[in-house]
């Protein structure tokens, strides 16, 4: 077996590579990859996911990039490795957003995902998968976002129930206000978000 190429930090200038238009390097790519997940025809409930990433000193991180990967409204992933059928072609399922250089906010306009089975056949609660890179992060952080208005599904979710301390599982629940869910990610401290080794 070969060894996986070691990870290295994305560094402070990650935007040049991942979101060059955001970094005001225009004219190379017409649009930053992952800028939109939905279009006018995407079925499903329109939602916004937004939040900030907070470091161990309580500071908001303004140089990170967040990627999201989620199923469509029926729970299908827009991927050749989705064996259960074809996801809706008007939903990419993948997005990328740099945290704002002033406010530190990231934001995705998307749809509420459907449910996806767990390894043993149980059905997971609706969730989105997040990956976070930045200066000072040596290997991309993997986490999941669940939805506060899915309490019943969350209660039986196989991943959430693996987390021994209930309070820690709560770090994965995005809070709904109107059509927007807020999901703040804490890298350290009492409220440290659960990150996965998956």
């Amino acid at each position: 077996m070969l060894k996986e190429t070691p990870s290295q930090t994305a560094g402070p200038y990650v935007h040049i590579g991942l979101t060059p238009n955001f970094a005001e390097i225009t004219g190379i790519f017409p649009e930053d990859a992952g800028k939109t997940l939905v279009n006018d025809k995407t079925p499903g409930e329109r939602i916004v996911i937004e939040g900030r990433i907070i470091d161990g000193q309580g500071g908001v991180i303004k140089d990170a990039v967040v990627e999201i990967w989620q199923a469509d409204h029926l729970g299908l992933y827009n991927s050749p490795y989705e064996p259960r059928g074809h996801a809706d072609s008007n939903f990419t399922g993948w997005g990328r957003c740099a945290t704002d250089m002033q406010t530190g906010e990231y934001r995705f306009e998307t749809i509420k995902p459907g449910r996806v089975p767990f390894a043993d056949g149980r059905i997971q609660a609706p969730h989105a998968n997040l990956w976070i890179v930045a200066r000072g992060i040596n290997i991309g952080l993997q986490t999941r976002l669940y939805f506060s208005d899915e309490a019943e599904a969350n209660a039986e979710d196989p991943v959430l129930s693996r987390i021994e301390h209930r309070a820690r599982a709560d770090t994965l629940i995005a809070r709904r206000a109107g059509d927007a869910y807020t999901f703040d990610i804490y890298l350290q401290g009492e409220n440290e978000t659960v990150f996965f080794d998956i």
Partner: protein, 251 residues
């Protein structure tokens, strides 16, 4: 919310080999000061791969512009080109089983020949090159091969220790077929004396892992009177072999 009916033989196959986290740099590595307040402190939580992990976005070659792979020209004024040593950086994207990964999106970014990035937050005194943007992207071919044209970036100083310098490097972002293969790394150049002095590289414990990040001069693929070539292969996590995976290959 409608759910997809699931057969009792639902394929939860083609899961990924467990990541060897001792091969990667640890999250907390105080020699690289920025990790101190950004490294998670609680243990990571593991669970078996589901479709959320084994699937990932796919990218089509039609997303690429003609010069996306050519950093010498993709930001340059017509008839001009970026300043610096012209190089080709190429290699294969493989998985841990040595299988090529076709259709993998590889994005790169780098400083210019003077070690200066085109970024608002960058304050190094070396000048910008008006003909160099610093980013490019390619998608691997059917054999997993990729190639960029660029200039060799310069080393640069950075605020960490009192006099720390980054070796010349190119940042790379790679997509595999599953979202948990997602990887960002950096490529270094064979023979660079700054390599053993780099606090970021030194967050990696195993010197064989460091060696895996060094691109090698590849005279056979250089272009006489034009560009030197450097070879850099990238290894992504491999999938466990399953009947389901074989079916995928037939698609």
């Amino acid at each position: 919310m409608k759910t997809i009916p699931q057969s009792n033989q639902a394929p939860e196959t083609g899961t990924f080999f467990t990541r060897d986290r001792n091969w990667h740099p640890p999250a907390f590595a105080p020699g690289y000061k920025s990790t101190v307040f950004r490294a998670p402190q609680k243990p990571l939580i593991a669970f078996p791969n589901t479709l959320s992990e084994t699937t990932g976005p796919a990218f089509g070659h039609d997303m690429l512009g003609l010069l996306d792979h050519d950093l010498i020209h993709n930001f340059a004024r017509a008839g001009e080109s970026a300043i610096g040593e012209r190089i080709i950086v190429h290699g294969k994207v493989l998985d841990e089983r040595g299988k090529p990964v076709p259709n993998a999106l590889v994005e790169i970014w780098q400083a210019n020949a003077g070690g200066r990035y085109r970024h608002k937050k960058e304050g190094y005194i070396a000048p910008l090159d008006p003909n160099f943007g610093g980013c490019g992207r390619v998608i691997t071919d059917a054999d997993g091969h990729y190639a960029f044209r660029t200039i060799r970036p310069g080393p640069y100083p950075w605020p960490n220790g009192p006099n720390d310098w980054r070796p010349a490097h190119i940042h790379l972002s790679i997509f595999g077929t599953g979202f948990v293969q997602r990887l960002i790394t950096q490529l270094y150049f064979e023979g660079d004396p700054l390599i053993p002095r780099c606090p970021i590289l030194n967050t990696i414990a195993d010197e064989k892992a460091v060696a895996q990040l060094v691109a090698h001069l590849d005279m056979d693929n250089s272009e006489p009177m034009d560009s030197l070539a450097y070879r850099f292969d990238i290894v992504l996590r491999g999938r466990r072999s399953t009947p389901f995976e074989n079916r995928m290959e037939g698609n």
